[in-house]
Assembly symmetry: C2
Homo-oligomer: 203 residues x 2
C-alpha cells in the first residue's frame, strides 16, 4: 500500500495528519502539481478526477478522495476514533467535518485558486471576482468558530477528530491565500495552538 500525494497541498496533509494520529505509517510517492504531472494520462488511471491524494493498494487498485481514504483507515483501525464513537457522535463529527470543509477550507481554496498568479495554469478560468467573494466568508467562519470554541475544547466536542484536522489544514492554508487571522479571536488562537502543537501537525 502507498499514498500518492503532494507534500505542500492541503488535502494530502489532511490524510497525513489522520494517519499520524492513528500511528499508521505508509510509504508516499510525490506528484509534482506544478509540473502538471496529475494532468498526464497515466495519472487519470489512478484517479480520473486528477486530484491527490490517491491510495494505491498492493493489488494495484486505488481509492481517492481525502475523506474516503480517512474512512478506510477509520474502519480498518478504529483506535483512536477520529470520526466519532456512536451513531449520534459519528453524525456530529461528519457535520463538523463538512462544515470545516465546505465553509472554511473550500472558501480559502477558492480564494487561493482564483486570485493567486501561480494558479492561473491550474484553475482555468481564474475568476478573480469569485476568489474575492470567498474572502469575507472565511472571516465570517473564523468569527463563528471563535464563538463556538469558547464552549468546548475541539471543533466537534471534547475529543480531537477529523473536523480538527480539516480546520487546522484550513487555518494554515489561509497564509498562501493571503487571508489574515485577526488577533482578537482568542478562543480560535487557543485551539490553533493546541492542535498545531500535536506531533501529527508536522505530518
Amino acid at each position: 500500500m502507498r499514498l500518492i500525494e503532494t507534500a505542500r497541498a492541503p488535502n494530502p496533509r489532511r490524510v497525513r495528519i489522520f494517519l499520524a494520529e492513528k500511528g499508521i505509517e505508509i510509504p508516499t510517492e510525490q506528484v509534482d502539481l506544478g509540473a502538471l504531472e496529475h494532468k498526464k494520462p497515466e495519472f487519470a488511471e489512478r484517479n480520473p478526477m486528477r486530484r491527490v491524494p490517491v491510495l494505491v493498494f498492493d493489488d494495484g487498485s486505488t481509492l481517492s478522495e481525502t475523506v474516503a481514504i480517512c474512512r478506510y483507515f477509520e474502519e480498518t483501525q478504529p483506535d483512536p476514533p477520529l470520526m466519532g464513537r456512536d451513531a449520534r457522535g459519528k453524525a456530529e463529527v461528519e457535520m463538523w467535518q463538512r462544515r470545516m470543509e465546505l465553509e472554511f477550507l473550500y472558501p480559502i481554496m477558492h480564494t487561493f485558486r482564483h486570485t493567486h498568479p501561480h494558479m492561473a495554469q491550474l484553475e482555468v478560468p481564474q475568476v478573480a471576482e469569485w476568489g474575492e467573494a470567498n474572502r469575507p466568508r472565511v472571516l465570517k467562519m473564523i468569527e463563528f468558530l471563535d464563538a463556538e470554541l469558547a464552549e468546548r475544547q475541539f471543533i466537534a466536542g471534547d475529543e480531537y477528530t477529523i473536523a480538527d484536522i480539516t480546520a487546522l489544514v484550513a487555518a494554515d492554508f489561509m497564509k498562501p491565500a493571503k487571508i489574515e487571522r485577526p488577533d482578537s479571536l482568542a478562543n480560535l488562537a487557543r485551539w490553533y495552538d493546541e492542535v498545531s502543537s500535536r506531533p501529527s501537525a508536522k505530518a
Copy 2:
C-alpha cells in the same frame, strides 16, 4: 423527531430519498427559502450555517448537513445499507458520493445560483462568470459518468447507494440550472431511468 426542510431544494430531497429507501418516515416542517425564512435569527439557532435540511431530535437538539443526517440513519438503521458494507466498500461509496457531490451536484448548484435571476437575493454576490465556468464541468462529468456506467449498474458498484441518490438529485437539478443532458449518453440514460423509477425518487 422531525425534519426541517424545503420541498423543492436539492439537499433536502437527498435526505427524503435516503429515508424512503430505508423505509423511515418522519414528520417534516417546511421552510420558505424564497421568503428568506432561513435568514431569520430563529433559524440560526437550529443551524448557524442557515441551510436546510435540519434534523430536530425530541429533546430539541439538532443535526444538520445532508450527509451527516444520512449517516445518523445509516448507523441507527443499517438495513438496507446505503453507505457501503465493509471497510473497503464504505470507503468506495464515500469516494463516489463525494465525487457526485463535489464534481456533479455542486457545479450544477454554482451554475444555478450564479446565473439564475431568482437567486440574486440569496447568492450575494452573484458572479455570472463563475456560474458559466461551472457549466462545461457538468458536461464533462456526465460524459465521464456515462463511460463508467457502461461497466456497472450503479454509481458505486452493483448496489444502489447514497452515491446514486446524490447523482439522481444532481441530474434532476440540471433542469432549473438550464443544462441539457445530451441524448447520446445511453448508459447514463439507462441508469437515470432505473434510479428515477424507484418509488423513493418521488420522495
